[in-house]
Amino acid sequence: MLLDVHDIQTFYGGSQALFGVHLKMDEGEVVALMGRNGMGKSTTIKSICNLTPPKAGRISFGGQPTDRQPPHKVARLGIGLVPEGRRCFPNLTVYENLVAAARPGRWTLERVNDLFPRLAERRDQLARSLSGGEQQMLAVGRALMTNPRLLILDEATEGLAPVIRLDIWRAIRALKADGLSILVVDKTLSELLPVADRCVVLENGRNAWEGRPDALTAELQDRYLGV
């Protein structure tokens, strides 16, 4: 098993956000983490990366427990995070954003540039001068440069132009075909469901439903994801 999140409880100061979330992922699997806003998706991700360490429960990655490890150590175990809201380093160039993150492995600058040719064109531009979609490509590229065993995409296509979304989804499908394990949070079900192997639905900081994407009926979607 690649990732095992067992019964975690996470707090922001005094307020509890997660009340016992479970999540298991195998190598090569693409899991969609779903739920309405505020149900604990991003908190689960932050807990996995130890950015907001859980107070109870346990997480192990590749068989190693991650508790009490600083975030950079967890990242080095092989978790590549693409955080919500295209978080690049705005005052570094595209090239610098990519090489600063690089760790040796299959993913190199050339391969990232093949995946997102636009990044090659923008090599020496500051990240802050890129369009939203290009920044998102850069954030994905930067995560890949760390050669992760698990890629986490938190709302990777939110707020992007439809054409750019297609590019990002094309990249996600290519990564899946390449055998990368991906944990993805996204609201575009029409794109998300075909690519996911399994869906995990959260509600009020707890697991509410889990199953194959084709079992997520319109009724269930309305129950757990509708607004």
Partner: protein, 323 residues
């Protein structure tokens, strides 16, 4: 060649040419003035690595400047008197030896200061670096063996192989050479992967951690490098004045170095040079007109911070590539 490169080259050529023209015209004082610019610029190049690239507002760089100065003073005084110092070392009146000692001493001290102070950030980092620098300052004051409060004279300016450093233009060349090396180093550093990570740490520490890089070792390395460069400047400054005193270690000096970096353009390669040039020239011209020249310096600094964040370099070379 972009505009900033052209401005940078022009500055360097001016800096290099002025002393020789002045010397030919018999204006030795101008040579000394430009030498002072080069030395202060060197100190600020050091600080700029921590402050400009790393965002580490060190209010204690006078400690490293002063340690460099005392390295020059102490080694020279032992070489002069022939009295052996620690481990039977005889002292030295050779600049390269002094620089190495200055860098080692400042490197060790900055390592200790950095390990502790880099655990804090923001205003606490500023205060803790200030506190450490004040400790070094009071230590120097209360150490009678090397002059204490009165400071230490260097009878004969330390030498450099192949040059007569007592001649102002030749001493200037030494300073300019060291400054040029430091600038090349600083440019290579900021273009390197390490430089990218250092700037990333300034922009967002958590984001850096989430790609698997711990900010602390990177910042510590930058802080130590920065201190070592500033220490060499301190040694040269002592040689320029042929005198070292605790005032080199005082918090005024730390503040002055920060002012140089901000005036010139924080994080810009040649910002420290432009800042030092402006500072020394203002000190000279305004100082000749009124005793209260620092009031006007304050005004200029205020205007820079409010309206011209890019400093002098920003004014002439446009917006920065790095921010």
């Amino acid at each position: 060649m972009n505009r900033e490169t052209r401005v940078n080259l022009l500055l360097l050529v001016l800096l290099l040419a002025v002393p020789f023209v002045a010397d030919a015209l018999g204006q030795t004082f101008t040579v000394t003035l430009v030498t002072r610019i080069a030395i202060l610029a060197l100190a600020a190049v050091g600080l700029n690595i921590a402050l400009g690239l790393g965002g580490l507002v060190s209010f204690g760089h006078a400690a490293f400047f002063g340690i460099g100065g005392y390295a020059a003073g102490i080694l020279a005084s032992h070489a002069m008197s022939g009295e052996p110092m620690l481990f039977g070392f005889e002292g030295s009146a050779q600049m390269p030896v002094i620089w190495i000692v200055a860098m080692l001493a400042a490197g060790l001290v900055s390592l200790a200061i950095g390990v502790i102070s880099l655990r804090t950030s923001g205003v606490y980092f500023i205060m803790i670096t200030l506190a450490f620098a004040q400790m070094v300052y009071y230590f120097a004051i209360s150490w009678p063996a090397y002059g204490g409060e009165d400071g230490l004279s260097i009878t004969l300016r330390n030498g450099f192989p192949g040059l007569n450093t007592m001649r102002p233009t030749e001493f200037f060349l030494v300073c300019f050479g060291v400054l040029a090396v430091a600038l090349v180093l600083s440019a290579l550093l900021s273009a390197s992967r390490f430089g990218a990570a250092l700037q990333a740490a300034r922009q967002n520490e958590v984001r850096l951690a989430s790609i698997g890089i711990a900010p602390m070792p990177i910042r510590l390395t930058a802080f130590v490098l920065s201190a070592m460069i500033t220490a060499v400047a301190g040694a040269l400054y002592a040689d320029l004045n042929r005198f070292v005193s605790p005032s080199m270690l005082s918090w005024h000096m730390s503040g002055e170095l920060i002012v140089l970096v901000i005036l010139g353009g924080t994080g810009r390669l040649m910002g420290p040079v432009a800042g030092a040039a402006l500072f020394v020239l203002l000190e000279f011209w305004l100082g000749g007109i009124t005793e209260r020249w620092q009031f006007f310096l304050g005004l200029i600094l205020l205007v820079t911070v409010l309206f011209a964040r890019g400093g002098v370099i920003g004014l002439f070379a446009g917006k920065e590539r790095h921010g």
